[in-house]
Subunit: 341 residues, 2 copies
Amino acid sequence: MTKIKNMEEFAALSGISRPTVSKYFHDPDSVRPTTRARIEEALERFDYRPNIYAVNQNRKLTKNIGIVVPYLADPFFAEIARYLEQSCIAAGYRPSLFSSHGEQKLENDILDGLQSMKPAGVLLAPLGRTSDQSVIERFCANVPTVLFDSNLDGLGAAFIGSDNFSFVSQTVEYMTRTGEPPSFFEMRTPANPNANKRRKAYVEVMERLGFEPHIIRVDGKGWAFEEIGHKGALKVLAENELRTNSVLCSNDRLAIGFLAACYEQGIRVGRRDDCALRLASNDDHPFAKFTCPSLTTAAHDYDNVAGRSVETLFELIESGGKFETRSETLFPARLVLRDSA
Amino acid sequence: MTKIKNMEEFAALSGISRPTVSKYFHDPDSVRPTTRARIEEALERFDYRPNIYAVNQNRKLTKNIGIVVPYLADPFFAEIARYLEQSCIAAGYRPSLFSSHGEQKLENDILDGLQSMKPAGVLLAPLGRTSDQSVIERFCANVPTVLFDSNLDGLGAAFIGSDNFSFVSQTVEYMTRTGEPPSFFEMRTPANPNANKRRKAYVEVMERLGFEPHIIRVDGKGWAFEEIGHKGALKVLAENELRTNSVLCSNDRLAIGFLAACYEQGIRVGRRDDCALRLASNDDHPFAKFTCPSLTTAAHDYDNVAGRSVETLFELIESGGKFETRSETLFPARLVLRDSA
DNA sequence: CCTAAAATTTAACGCGCGTAAAGTTTTCAT
DNA sequence: ATGAAAACTTTACGCGCGTTAAATTTTAGG
């Protein structure tokens, strides 16, 4: 079997002219069924594929889609990324996955490199507070971008994420209804804007229910949430900072650290009578099912967030990269009752 | 500030001829310091960058490097990938990250797409048993490839991984020295070839120490190891299949499931007197520190595995894509004593 | 200051494909 | 069968850059 060098050669072998073959690769349905059949027949025999670099050089819009997440070592983002990837592929695009690994410089570099890929669109979950707003703003001005998970005011053509109020209201209401009102456990300076919304929601819901909010803020920077939660919880437990037997963690990874601390201190967590503490959280992290005890948490609507994100991006691409108005779509949480609260 | 369209234009603005500018972008040190300075000065003022598609079309060897892992939602691979990515960037390459998500078809598709990227080299952690050997073989014949983590006999120019015997011998020796000899807990048909090596190592070490090996194999397919470990452990505990109070899990993710099962059943795990079971494992998963109890495990030498992998790939690239002989490099484990055993 | 070596410029071709224009063939409804 | 529309072929140019060869300039060493 001879190696095909280029489209010219392949066109000759398939008995079709090169412009028509080119048209076929752009959209197989744009050619007559008989010619399509002939091309595909030749394709079977010769295993040719257009040079992607030559293709992308000449097309104004590539079929590339960038997917950027803040921290890929977090299985939550890995799962979302998986879904986004698959959806892009199914729609005929070529996704490229990037992780900022929690670092602003890296996020900037990624966006920088992404620009020179001339992507049809980008799905961006920014770092949040530690993002360089000006860099992201400039990027969004040049590339059709849909933000997800973390909202940055006014940036990107649209935002799709979770309704933090829904998360916290469900967990707080559940905990107060079935026991004592929870303290809120979080990082002092969370990078993720969702954390701030969750704190506000906590205060609002607690007040509405007639309880006094009690927020515990622990030190720690970066994305090692489990470690931060663990250290913070040890301190909280040692200094007896809790006012009730009930804690709501800002997110599951903090909760995982908290549970580890409780275990070490011999404090039983759960809703049973022999337990000293109840602990709930937010996110439904992939590991939340396997913590000890398993974690009661408000689950992201993964499928809808991811699904709507890609849908929105495709609409954006088809609209020529601009929307009339920036939309924000929030999906509510689903309370997952497990053993920890 | 005018938008620069191409290198021609940029060259004119910087007062340097295009071929020299082209040379500069290929290797900044290949031009005279004074001209380099002039180019970089213009670069500051005009923000031009070569069109990567045009560049890659004409260069025989691109600066792309493919990184393929079997399952990115496993933080172990996410961490390795992070290290590999950074090393590639530091060396002036453009890494692209892919996850097979545990599926053969996807692995094949990824390798397929990777070929048309004409990468300088690829770092591949294959699925293992479920990989399509012929596809990988064909791929390796066309693209300089270094395998890591999972070895496939004879495939790729080199393999870098962990010495499974070192893992298991350390854990088994530690457990037998400080307590009863462990049973070995694993999946019945593990996808990863390391699992088989670990089982064999377990048998060998046990026999050498004069104990009878006892292997427990649990059902389950795919990459949901925690779930599989959890279900399997519940069955093992219910049917009292353990011969001693000691268990060695094939990997940490199974162990996480096992620990969850123990917790649910009220079985205290650890080396203290009030514990009914000791459990150790292999890998030092990023979350092993936060299990309840924290997990005693044999740690991968992450840094060396990742570091040597990229080093080897760079050597391979510089050698023109072929090595005289295929090398296999194994790094020993480091026993991490925590609370579970 | 002179000369050989090194670096740069100029000019030009090629890469593989997108795409446009003009001419030719096929298709399909009448 | 007929005519127009649709699809295809031929021809040709352009994309942005790699790369080469010959001509020119700069550099460095004595």
